[in-house]
């Protein structure tokens, strides 16, 4: 009885294996061909905006490698006094490696003026700005205007192009002599944005 069952089981296994083999054989019996293509890698561009201080030539990327915003010291030329403004400027260059069009607009925001070491000079300082096509224009007092609420926008800065912002700090004629020797920090935020993707900049 046991031998008979063993034989039956063996026959069943053999039949299953045979069926399996026949099935597999059938699925490979037909022709097939495969070809492989390599479409390549889609890479996004960098968003590198270089800033160069007009007076010192110091340069930095607008965004640092760690993703934080950079700070560039403009080092104003001259000594501030009533009727003798000082100026500084920054050249912003669109250094993207974009394959196609990559237009940008740079905006200089409202200045923030703070006293250094508890002085009172800040309330007598005004900052004006203008766009320029040459760094030499910064030392020319013509054309400086207060920065509006929306900031001062550059013209469209295309790939590899640049723009220049000039800033002028003036001391009010009403400034008391007590502010002599005092210092202020002037912070001007610069923002670059891509434009022209759908419509004009």
């Amino acid at each position: 009885m046991r031998i008979k069952r063993s034989l039956q089981a063996a026959a069943l296994v053999a039949a299953a294996v045979l069926l399996g083999l026949l099935t597999v054989q059938g699925s490979y019996a037909l022709w097939n061909a495969t070809v492989v293509a390599t479409p390549g890698t889609v890479s996004s561009a960098s968003f590198d905006m270089a800033m160069t201080a007009v007076n010192s030539g110091q340069t930095t990327n607008m965004t640092l490698a760690n993703g934080t915003a950079a700070t560039l010291t403009l080092s104003p030329a001259g000594t501030l006094g009533p009727g003798t403004p000082v100026y500084g400027g920054v050249q912003v260059t669109n250094n993207t490696n974009a394959g196609g069009q990559f237009n940008t607009v740079i905006t200089a925001g409202q200045p923030s003026i703070t006293n250094v070491s508890g002085g009172t000079l800040a309330s007598y300082i005004s900052v004006t700005a203008k766009r320029a096509t040459s760094t030499t224009e910064c030392s020319n007092s013509v054309g400086y205007l207060a920065i509006g609420a929306g900031g001062l926008e550059s013209p469209t800065v295309a790939k590899n192009g640049s723009t220049i912002f000039c800033f002028q700090a003036s001391l009010s004629s009403a400034a008391p002599s007590s502010v002599k020797g005092q210092a202020v920090n002037i912070t001007l935020p610069l923002t670059a944005r891509q434009c022209g993707v759908s419509g004009g900049c």
Binding site: A33, G40, F47, Q194
Partner: protein, 181 residues
Amino acid sequence: MKNSTLIKGTAAIAVGAALLLGGGGSLANWNAAASATPGNIVAGDLNVATAAGVWTDRTGATIDIATYRVVPGDMLTYTQALTVTLVGDKMAASVVLANVPANTFTADNLVISPMKLTNTAGDVTANTVLKPVSGSATQTVTASTVFEFKSTTTGRSDVAKNYDLGNVGYTLTQLTQTGLS
């Protein structure tokens, strides 16, 4: 007299033998011969080959994907022609894509149409049965995909990122037809 009889008997046997020999040709029946040419058995063909893929930008201009860097607002289209060879009276096949890698950009910043296959009749899916076409051993199937970097991308999201489309495989497989086992 005995000799005469012997001679006559011998002669009769000789004549009979001669008659038998002379009628040897008459022993064959009719027969005829002819030659036949069954012909050659010729196998069909099944193959798939690719032409170089082409990337184009939104304006339709061809770009070199190895050096091109996309920015928000870009839309790139990849197309690749497949030359499918199908020969055989009972030949039929399907073609499918394999190994299309997943996107590595931020999903919200992209619109990527899945790579698809089309021919003159429309979309070619795994269920589409391709058959030999009249007058040509080959037919064209086009693979394509669209990569759009959305202009709504904010900040510096996905700057200097890569999406490797790797090795996309196109497999052409013969299908069983009536009359095939």
